[in-house]
Amino acid sequence: MAAIEILGLEKTYMVGFWRKRPKRALQPLHLTVEDGEIFGFLGPNGAGKTTTLKMLMGLVSPTAGTARILGKDWTDPEVKAQIGFLPEQPYFYDYLTAHELLDYYGQLSGVPAKDRKNRVEEVLQRVGLTDIKGIQLRKFSKGMLQRAGIAQAILHSPKLVFLDEPMSGLDPLGRRDVRDLILQLQQEGKTVFFSTHILSDAEALCDRVAIINKGELRGVGAVEELTKSVQGKVEVVWQGTQVPASMKALSAEFHVTGETVRTVISENQQDAAIDVLRRERLRLISIIPLRTSLESYFVEKLQHSQTTAGTSA
């Protein structure tokens, strides 16, 4: 069974105070996350990650489309008892202590009264928030709030956890804690869906990732598969503003920024490219093998979307 099936969810916000204009935040999105996966939802700021998560949580209504979560219709209240959610930059009732907050959330999620106290202690321990008895959340630092946020997301032992930028606001140690925690959750048989714009986190954790930019899905796959596809590629940069015709046979995309042109070609065409540039008396600046990392794949995907956006505009 798929843990999450997103079936064409899309969102157009109406923006502007007086005369509302539509603003497309998410193109129809189709995505399936399998049970037990750690799934990374990757994209730069403004890509539409938070919008997608808010729709899945029922906080924002989609313009069109539906979803199934844990095999049930996503609006089914029963589903909500089995999922956890960490919002982006979470904020909580600041007049409560972390214990009170979690106890309250436990009540709302239907955790039985007799288990609540233990559960609360346990999750606070787990996210490294100890020795905070009696401190109201208004005195919490950003990192502590993030930890409290993770605690409330896993408090009721959900089967599926949604985390929106879980590493943000944390110091390097905190980030490592969260990474470890996500891996532990997977070992416990849970599914984790998290958004991030930090690639190394996704690379270190995810079974599969989806890459999204400007509201549009750019690629989905296992991390190894995605990175394989850029192996054997090099980035060529030269001075100038024009692309010689014979260069166009080697690559479909060129990025002109200021006085330089960049393109990605396969490694075995490197010599041909150098010949072309020499013949055209263009100054070669660099040829760098693309790192076989998620980062290069990511950059390539984003560049692709920028050029297509540029030509269509």
């Binding site: 916000y13 906080l59 999922i83 959610f85 919002p87 959330y105 009540q107």
Partner: protein
């Protein structure tokens, strides 16, 4: 009441207490004590009348201010501060949230009114040196005052579901004032003709009828309050509050949380 609504209500009460809403009681205590001492010194015969009139009016105004200013923030503040995300992503329906918040504030106002009522009775005892049987109708006046709070709370919630906190406060306060003259408005409506008649009649029945809920003067003058009025006001409040809350739920249900 389902358990989630009860939990949301009790958390709302806790918030009000921690935000020091009940501190208004200090101001009330000072006011009522000063008034009692002052009245005790100057007047003869009419102490009772003055203390009841003044005391219950103060109870009503203090509570009204709380009902409006806490009421407009009940839901809008949670949207603004994004504390709602981690509530509504749990098995909590939006209407349960609204109703829970409403009961939380209603509870706060009942507790607050209870302490203010103690102050009024204290002042009454101070000036009159004893209670009489007629004083028991003060309870009815207090009950009606609480009913007014419920209506205003629900209206504040309704307004804040679609407009800014400031505008909501203005709307709610205006309705409190106009509603207090609902009787006069109805009288005017029957006298008017043509379009004015219809507009005035519509307005007169749409605004909350606080005239009928205000028996302070009657109680001060020891006029009896009929049980019929108690029943009528109770049903009216239930209906009016339910309508206003339903409106708030309808608006809130469609709303995107920013």
């Amino acid at each position: 009441m389902n358990a989630r609504i009860a939990h949301i209500a009790s958390n709302t009460f806790r918030e009000a207490v921690r935000d020091r809403v009940l501190y208004n009681l200090i101001a009330f205590a000072v006011l009522i004590s000063a008034a009692a001492i002052f009245i005790g010194q100057i007047s003869i015969e009419i102490e009772r009348l003055v203390v009841i009139n003044l005391g219950l009016t103060a109870v009503s105004l203090f509570g009204m201010v709380i009902a409006i200013f806490v009421g407009i923030g009940l839901v809008s503040k949670e949207i603004e501060k994004r504390t709602l995300y981690t509530v509504l992503s749990r098995p909590v329906r939006r209407w349960e949230f609204i109703v829970g918040k409403f009961f939380g504030l209603a509870g706060t106002l009942v507790v607050n009114t209870f302490f203010m009522a103690l102050g009024v009775f204290g002042a009454l005892f101070y000036v009159a040196h004893r209670f009489s049987g007629a004083d028991s109708s003060i309870f009815i006046a207090l009950y009606f005052i609480i009913l007014q709070f419920l209506i205003i709370c629900a209206l504040a919630l309704l307004f804040s579901s679609f407009s800014s906190p400031l505008l909501s406060a203005v709307f709610a306060f205006s309705l409190f004032i106009i509603g207090s003259f609902a009787d006069d408005l109805r009288g005017f409506a029957t006298l008017a003709h043509g379009l004015t008649h219809w507009v005035a009649t519509g307005a007169a029945y749409l605004v909350p009828n606080f005239s009928a809920l205000n028996v302070i003067s009657a109680v001060a003058h020891q006029q009896p309050i009929s049980w019929q009025l108690v029943l009528q006001n109770t049903l009216y409040t239930l209906f009016y509050t339910a309508m206003a809350l339903s409106g708030a739920v309808l608006v809130f249900d469609r709303r995107d949380l920013k």
